[in-house]
Amino acid sequence: MASVSAPGGRSTGGKKALNVELNLVPFIDLLTCLICFLLMAAVWIQIGKISVTQSGQGAPTEQTPEDRTKLNLVVTITPQGFLLTGNGQTIADILKKDNQYDFERLGAKLKEVHGQYPEKNDIVVTSEDSIQYQDLINTMDVCLANEFPNISVSGTI
Protein backbone atom coordinates (compact mmCIF):
# COMPACT_ATOMS: atom_id res chain seq x y z
CA MET A 1 0.00 0.00 0.00
CA ALA A 2 0.99 3.63 -0.06
CA SER A 3 3.98 4.29 2.14
CA VAL A 4 6.23 7.18 2.98
CA SER A 5 9.85 6.22 3.48
CA ALA A 6 12.36 8.48 5.20
CA PRO A 7 15.86 8.12 3.75
CA GLY A 8 18.31 6.84 6.31
CA GLY A 9 15.57 5.92 8.69
CA ARG A 10 17.40 2.85 9.84
CA SER A 11 20.90 4.34 9.84
CA THR A 12 20.19 6.67 12.77
CA GLY A 13 20.74 3.87 15.14
CA GLY A 14 17.24 3.43 16.44
CA LYS A 15 15.46 0.20 15.77
CA LYS A 16 12.17 1.89 14.98
CA ALA A 17 11.73 2.50 11.28
CA LEU A 18 10.56 5.91 10.14
CA ASN A 19 8.64 4.51 7.19
CA VAL A 20 4.96 5.37 7.49
CA GLU A 21 2.14 3.49 5.85
CA LEU A 22 -0.74 5.75 4.88
CA ASN A 23 -4.07 4.16 5.62
CA LEU A 24 -5.93 4.61 2.38
CA VAL A 25 -8.90 2.42 3.22
CA PRO A 26 -11.14 5.19 4.68
CA PHE A 27 -10.27 7.42 1.75
CA ILE A 28 -11.28 4.73 -0.74
CA ASP A 29 -14.48 4.13 1.22
CA LEU A 30 -15.33 7.80 1.08
CA LEU A 31 -14.63 8.03 -2.63
CA THR A 32 -16.70 4.94 -3.35
CA CYS A 33 -19.67 6.32 -1.40
CA LEU A 34 -19.36 9.66 -3.15
CA ILE A 35 -19.24 8.04 -6.58
CA CYS A 36 -22.29 5.91 -5.82
CA PHE A 37 -24.26 8.94 -4.63
CA LEU A 38 -23.24 11.12 -7.57
CA LEU A 39 -23.99 8.37 -10.08
CA MET A 40 -27.47 7.96 -8.65
CA ALA A 41 -28.15 11.68 -8.51
CA ALA A 42 -26.73 12.39 -11.97
CA VAL A 43 -29.10 13.77 -14.60
CA TRP A 44 -28.00 12.38 -17.90
CA ILE A 45 -30.44 14.13 -20.22
CA GLN A 46 -30.47 17.90 -20.11
CA ILE A 47 -33.81 19.44 -21.01
CA GLY A 48 -34.30 23.08 -21.82
CA LYS A 49 -37.39 25.22 -22.11
CA ILE A 50 -38.84 27.91 -24.30
CA SER A 51 -41.00 30.23 -22.31
CA VAL A 52 -44.10 31.70 -23.93
CA THR A 53 -47.36 33.35 -23.03
CA GLN A 54 -50.71 32.87 -24.65
CA SER A 55 -52.13 35.86 -26.45
CA GLY A 56 -55.41 36.58 -28.13
CA GLN A 57 -57.57 35.82 -25.10
CA GLY A 58 -61.04 37.22 -24.79
CA ALA A 59 -62.49 40.18 -26.64
CA PRO A 60 -60.06 42.58 -28.29
CA THR A 61 -59.43 45.62 -26.13
CA GLU A 62 -59.59 49.12 -27.48
CA GLN A 63 -56.30 50.38 -28.80
CA THR A 64 -54.87 53.53 -27.34
CA PRO A 65 -53.10 55.97 -29.69
CA GLU A 66 -49.81 54.77 -28.20
CA ASP A 67 -50.61 51.20 -29.14
CA ARG A 68 -51.31 52.21 -32.70
CA THR A 69 -47.83 53.59 -33.17
CA LYS A 70 -46.36 50.33 -31.90
CA LEU A 71 -45.63 47.51 -34.27
CA ASN A 72 -47.74 44.44 -33.72
CA LEU A 73 -45.45 41.81 -35.21
CA VAL A 74 -47.02 38.47 -36.06
CA VAL A 75 -45.51 35.37 -37.65
CA THR A 76 -48.13 33.04 -39.05
CA ILE A 77 -47.10 29.52 -39.93
CA THR A 78 -49.13 28.04 -42.76
CA PRO A 79 -48.65 24.80 -44.67
CA GLN A 80 -47.24 26.94 -47.51
CA GLY A 81 -44.70 28.87 -45.48
CA PHE A 82 -44.45 31.87 -43.16
CA LEU A 83 -46.38 35.10 -43.27
CA LEU A 84 -44.76 37.96 -41.39
CA THR A 85 -47.11 40.83 -40.68
CA GLY A 86 -46.81 44.09 -38.82
CA ASN A 87 -50.01 45.83 -37.73
CA GLY A 88 -51.93 43.71 -40.23
CA GLN A 89 -49.70 44.73 -43.16
CA THR A 90 -47.71 41.98 -44.81
CA ILE A 91 -43.99 42.49 -44.28
CA ALA A 92 -42.87 39.28 -45.93
CA ASP A 93 -44.41 36.16 -47.39
CA ILE A 94 -41.81 33.44 -47.05
CA LEU A 95 -42.77 30.33 -48.96
CA LYS A 96 -41.37 26.89 -48.34
CA LYS A 97 -38.15 26.04 -50.14
CA ASP A 98 -37.78 22.43 -51.34
CA ASN A 99 -40.87 21.57 -49.31
CA GLN A 100 -39.15 22.77 -46.12
CA TYR A 101 -39.66 25.90 -44.10
CA ASP A 102 -37.15 28.61 -44.96
CA PHE A 103 -35.98 29.50 -41.46
CA GLU A 104 -32.94 31.37 -42.78
CA ARG A 105 -35.07 33.86 -44.71
CA LEU A 106 -37.42 34.30 -41.77
CA GLY A 107 -34.40 34.99 -39.57
CA ALA A 108 -33.06 37.55 -42.05
CA LYS A 109 -36.45 39.33 -42.20
CA LEU A 110 -36.77 39.37 -38.42
CA LYS A 111 -33.28 40.82 -38.15
CA GLU A 112 -34.29 43.52 -40.62
CA VAL A 113 -37.38 44.36 -38.55
CA HIS A 114 -35.32 44.39 -35.37
CA GLY A 115 -32.92 46.80 -37.04
CA GLN A 116 -35.83 49.17 -37.75
CA TYR A 117 -37.38 48.78 -34.28
CA PRO A 118 -34.43 48.07 -31.95
CA GLU A 119 -36.48 48.41 -28.74
CA LYS A 120 -39.06 45.85 -29.91
CA ASN A 121 -38.71 42.49 -28.22
CA ASP A 122 -42.17 40.98 -28.44
CA ILE A 123 -43.60 38.88 -31.21
CA VAL A 124 -46.74 36.82 -31.70
CA VAL A 125 -46.42 33.39 -33.26
CA THR A 126 -49.57 31.86 -34.63
CA SER A 127 -50.12 28.80 -36.66
CA GLU A 128 -52.64 26.82 -38.60
CA ASP A 129 -54.16 23.81 -36.86
CA SER A 130 -52.31 21.19 -38.88
CA ILE A 131 -48.81 22.55 -38.21
CA GLN A 132 -46.54 20.26 -36.25
CA TYR A 133 -45.07 21.18 -32.88
CA GLN A 134 -41.46 20.89 -34.12
CA ASP A 135 -42.09 23.58 -36.77
CA LEU A 136 -43.62 25.85 -34.14
CA ILE A 137 -40.63 25.34 -31.86
CA ASN A 138 -38.20 25.98 -34.73
CA THR A 139 -40.02 29.22 -35.55
CA MET A 140 -39.86 30.34 -31.93
CA ASP A 141 -36.19 29.40 -31.89
CA VAL A 142 -35.59 31.70 -34.88
CA CYS A 143 -37.47 34.51 -33.07
CA LEU A 144 -35.27 34.01 -29.98
CA ALA A 145 -32.15 34.00 -32.14
CA ASN A 146 -33.14 37.37 -33.59
CA GLU A 147 -33.69 39.06 -30.26
CA PHE A 148 -37.42 38.67 -29.86
CA PRO A 149 -37.40 36.92 -26.48
CA ASN A 150 -40.94 37.92 -25.57
CA ILE A 151 -42.91 35.34 -27.53
CA SER A 152 -46.65 34.90 -27.32
CA VAL A 153 -48.51 32.10 -29.04
CA SER A 154 -51.91 32.87 -30.41
CA GLY A 155 -54.47 30.20 -31.14
CA THR A 156 -56.47 32.25 -33.59
CA ILE A 157 -55.14 33.46 -36.91
Binding site: F27, I28, L38, G48, Y101, Y133, L136, I137, V153, G155
Partner: protein, 190 residues
Protein backbone atom coordinates in the same frame (compact mmCIF):
# COMPACT_ATOMS: atom_id res chain seq x y z
CA UNK B 1 0.49 -45.66 -16.93
CA UNK B 2 2.95 -46.73 -14.22
CA UNK B 3 1.73 -47.50 -10.76
CA UNK B 4 2.92 -44.98 -8.15
CA UNK B 5 3.32 -45.36 -4.43
CA UNK B 6 0.66 -43.21 -2.77
CA UNK B 7 2.03 -40.16 -0.91
CA UNK B 8 0.62 -38.56 2.26
CA UNK B 9 -2.92 -37.41 1.79
CA UNK B 10 -5.28 -35.20 3.77
CA UNK B 11 -8.24 -36.83 2.28
CA UNK B 12 -8.65 -39.14 -0.60
CA UNK B 13 -9.38 -36.26 -3.00
CA UNK B 14 -6.98 -33.56 -1.76
CA UNK B 15 -3.29 -34.07 -2.41
CA UNK B 16 -0.91 -32.37 -0.02
CA UNK B 17 1.39 -31.32 -2.82
CA UNK B 18 0.77 -27.59 -2.37
CA UNK B 19 1.28 -27.63 1.37
CA UNK B 20 4.42 -29.70 0.92
CA UNK B 21 5.79 -27.25 -1.65
CA UNK B 22 5.25 -24.29 0.67
CA UNK B 23 6.89 -25.96 3.59
CA UNK B 24 9.87 -26.92 1.52
CA UNK B 25 10.46 -23.32 0.39
CA UNK B 26 12.68 -20.88 2.24
CA UNK B 27 11.26 -20.15 5.66
CA UNK B 28 10.28 -16.57 6.51
CA UNK B 29 9.33 -15.51 3.01
CA UNK B 30 6.14 -13.47 3.14
CA UNK B 31 3.25 -14.29 0.89
CA UNK B 32 1.46 -10.97 1.52
CA UNK B 33 0.89 -9.10 -1.70
CA UNK B 34 0.35 -5.36 -1.49
CA UNK B 35 -2.01 -4.04 -4.10
CA UNK B 36 -0.99 -0.86 -5.85
CA UNK B 37 -3.98 1.34 -5.06
CA UNK B 38 -2.64 4.60 -6.48
CA UNK B 39 -4.10 4.19 -10.02
CA UNK B 40 -7.46 3.19 -8.55
CA UNK B 41 -7.57 6.29 -6.34
CA UNK B 42 -6.53 8.44 -9.30
CA UNK B 43 -9.39 7.03 -11.32
CA UNK B 44 -11.84 7.53 -8.44
CA UNK B 45 -10.80 11.15 -8.03
CA UNK B 46 -11.22 11.87 -11.74
CA UNK B 47 -14.64 10.19 -11.68
CA UNK B 48 -15.74 12.18 -8.63
CA UNK B 49 -14.62 15.45 -10.23
CA UNK B 50 -16.46 14.63 -13.47
CA UNK B 51 -19.65 13.68 -11.63
CA UNK B 52 -19.48 16.78 -9.44
CA UNK B 53 -19.12 18.96 -12.54
CA UNK B 54 -22.21 17.43 -14.17
CA UNK B 55 -24.20 17.47 -10.92
CA UNK B 56 -27.44 19.33 -11.22
CA UNK B 57 -29.09 20.63 -8.08
CA UNK B 58 -32.52 20.87 -9.68
CA UNK B 59 -32.69 17.10 -10.15
CA UNK B 60 -34.74 15.34 -12.73
CA UNK B 61 -37.84 17.39 -13.50
CA UNK B 62 -39.13 15.51 -16.49
CA UNK B 63 -39.43 11.81 -16.95
CA UNK B 64 -38.57 11.12 -20.55
CA UNK B 65 -40.93 8.65 -22.11
CA UNK B 66 -39.81 6.35 -24.87
CA UNK B 67 -42.68 7.09 -27.23
CA UNK B 68 -42.48 10.88 -26.91
CA UNK B 69 -39.70 12.54 -28.84
CA UNK B 70 -39.17 16.11 -27.72
CA UNK B 71 -38.54 18.81 -30.32
CA UNK B 72 -35.07 20.28 -30.58
CA UNK B 73 -34.11 23.92 -30.20
CA UNK B 74 -30.92 25.91 -29.82
CA UNK B 75 -32.00 28.89 -27.72
CA UNK B 76 -33.21 27.39 -24.49
CA UNK B 77 -33.33 28.29 -20.84
CA UNK B 78 -32.94 26.06 -17.83
CA UNK B 79 -36.03 24.16 -16.84
CA UNK B 80 -37.58 24.80 -13.42
CA UNK B 81 -39.87 22.73 -11.27
CA UNK B 82 -43.53 23.03 -12.30
CA UNK B 83 -46.52 20.80 -13.06
CA UNK B 84 -46.02 18.84 -16.28
CA UNK B 85 -48.57 18.24 -19.02
CA UNK B 86 -47.53 15.45 -21.37
CA UNK B 87 -48.99 15.49 -24.87
CA UNK B 88 -48.08 12.49 -26.95
CA UNK B 89 -48.71 8.83 -27.66
CA UNK B 90 -52.37 9.68 -28.35
CA UNK B 91 -53.03 10.98 -24.85
CA UNK B 92 -52.96 14.18 -22.85
CA UNK B 93 -51.62 13.44 -19.38
CA UNK B 94 -51.20 15.70 -16.38
CA UNK B 95 -49.21 14.59 -13.34
CA UNK B 96 -49.48 10.97 -14.46
CA UNK B 97 -53.25 11.00 -15.02
CA UNK B 98 -54.86 10.99 -18.42
CA UNK B 99 -57.33 13.76 -19.17
CA UNK B 100 -58.38 12.65 -22.62
CA UNK B 101 -57.41 11.19 -25.94
CA UNK B 102 -55.68 13.48 -28.40
CA UNK B 103 -58.11 12.62 -31.22
CA UNK B 104 -61.12 13.47 -29.08
CA UNK B 105 -59.57 16.76 -28.00
CA UNK B 106 -58.68 17.62 -31.60
CA UNK B 107 -62.21 16.96 -32.79
CA UNK B 108 -63.94 18.74 -29.92
CA UNK B 109 -65.47 22.09 -30.82
CA UNK B 110 -64.71 23.57 -27.41
CA UNK B 111 -61.33 25.12 -26.75
CA UNK B 112 -61.36 24.21 -23.10
CA UNK B 113 -60.56 20.64 -21.98
CA UNK B 114 -62.84 20.11 -18.93
CA UNK B 115 -60.83 17.34 -17.18
CA UNK B 116 -57.57 19.21 -17.63
CA UNK B 117 -59.15 22.40 -16.38
CA UNK B 118 -60.43 20.62 -13.26
CA UNK B 119 -57.08 19.05 -12.44
CA UNK B 120 -55.21 22.30 -13.03
CA UNK B 121 -57.63 24.12 -10.75
CA UNK B 122 -57.00 21.51 -8.05
CA UNK B 123 -53.24 21.85 -8.48
CA UNK B 124 -53.50 25.61 -8.19
CA UNK B 125 -55.64 25.31 -5.06
CA UNK B 126 -53.20 22.84 -3.52
CA UNK B 127 -50.29 25.15 -4.22
CA UNK B 128 -52.05 28.09 -2.65
CA UNK B 129 -52.95 26.05 0.43
CA UNK B 130 -49.45 24.66 0.85
CA UNK B 131 -47.66 27.95 0.18
CA UNK B 132 -49.98 30.67 1.54
CA UNK B 133 -47.19 33.25 1.69
CA UNK B 134 -45.94 32.70 -1.83
CA UNK B 135 -47.26 34.26 -4.99
CA UNK B 136 -48.63 31.82 -7.51
CA UNK B 137 -46.14 31.86 -10.39
CA UNK B 138 -48.44 30.22 -12.93
CA UNK B 139 -45.66 28.11 -14.36
CA UNK B 140 -46.47 24.99 -16.28
CA UNK B 141 -44.37 22.70 -18.43
CA UNK B 142 -45.71 21.24 -21.65
CA UNK B 143 -43.84 18.13 -22.70
CA UNK B 144 -45.07 17.41 -26.20
CA UNK B 145 -43.98 15.03 -28.90
CA UNK B 146 -42.55 16.84 -31.91
CA UNK B 147 -45.25 15.56 -34.25
CA UNK B 148 -48.31 16.73 -32.28
CA UNK B 149 -50.58 19.12 -34.22
CA UNK B 150 -51.07 22.72 -33.16
CA UNK B 151 -54.81 22.01 -32.95
CA UNK B 152 -54.30 20.03 -29.71
CA UNK B 153 -51.54 22.24 -28.35
CA UNK B 154 -53.58 25.44 -28.58
CA UNK B 155 -56.46 23.84 -26.67
CA UNK B 156 -54.10 22.70 -23.90
CA UNK B 157 -52.55 26.18 -23.79
CA UNK B 158 -55.96 27.83 -23.74
CA UNK B 159 -57.07 25.65 -20.82
CA UNK B 160 -53.89 26.45 -18.90
CA UNK B 161 -54.39 30.17 -19.43
CA UNK B 162 -58.03 30.15 -18.37
CA UNK B 163 -57.13 28.41 -15.10
CA UNK B 164 -54.35 30.89 -14.39
CA UNK B 165 -51.21 29.15 -15.59
CA UNK B 166 -49.97 32.01 -17.75
CA UNK B 167 -46.29 31.14 -17.81
CA UNK B 168 -46.16 28.25 -20.27
CA UNK B 169 -42.86 26.48 -20.82
CA UNK B 170 -42.27 24.13 -23.72
CA UNK B 171 -39.82 21.38 -22.85
CA UNK B 172 -37.25 20.98 -25.63
CA UNK B 173 -34.01 19.14 -26.14
CA UNK B 174 -31.22 21.69 -26.39
CA UNK B 175 -28.87 21.20 -29.31
CA UNK B 176 -25.35 22.56 -29.46
CA UNK B 177 -24.42 26.07 -30.63
CA UNK B 178 -26.66 28.29 -28.52
CA UNK B 179 -26.24 31.37 -30.66
CA UNK B 180 -26.80 29.64 -33.97
CA UNK B 181 -29.97 29.62 -35.94
CA UNK B 182 -31.46 26.28 -36.76
CA UNK B 183 -29.78 25.05 -39.87
CA UNK B 184 -31.49 23.47 -42.84
CA UNK B 185 -30.73 20.10 -41.29
CA UNK B 186 -32.54 21.00 -38.10
CA UNK B 187 -35.43 22.37 -40.07
CA UNK B 188 -35.76 19.21 -42.08
CA UNK B 189 -36.35 17.20 -38.95
CA UNK B 190 -39.73 18.84 -38.48
Amino acid sequence: MPIKKPGPRLATQIPLKFAKKNVEKKAGRSYDVSLNLTPMIDMFVVLVIFLLMTFSTSGEILFIQKDIELPKATHTEQLEQAPVIIIGAGQVVIEGQSVGRMDDIAEDENFEIPDLSERLTNLKKNFQQLHPNQDFSGKIIIQGGKEIPFRVLKKVMYTCTTVGYLNINFAVLPTGGGSQQPSGEAASEG
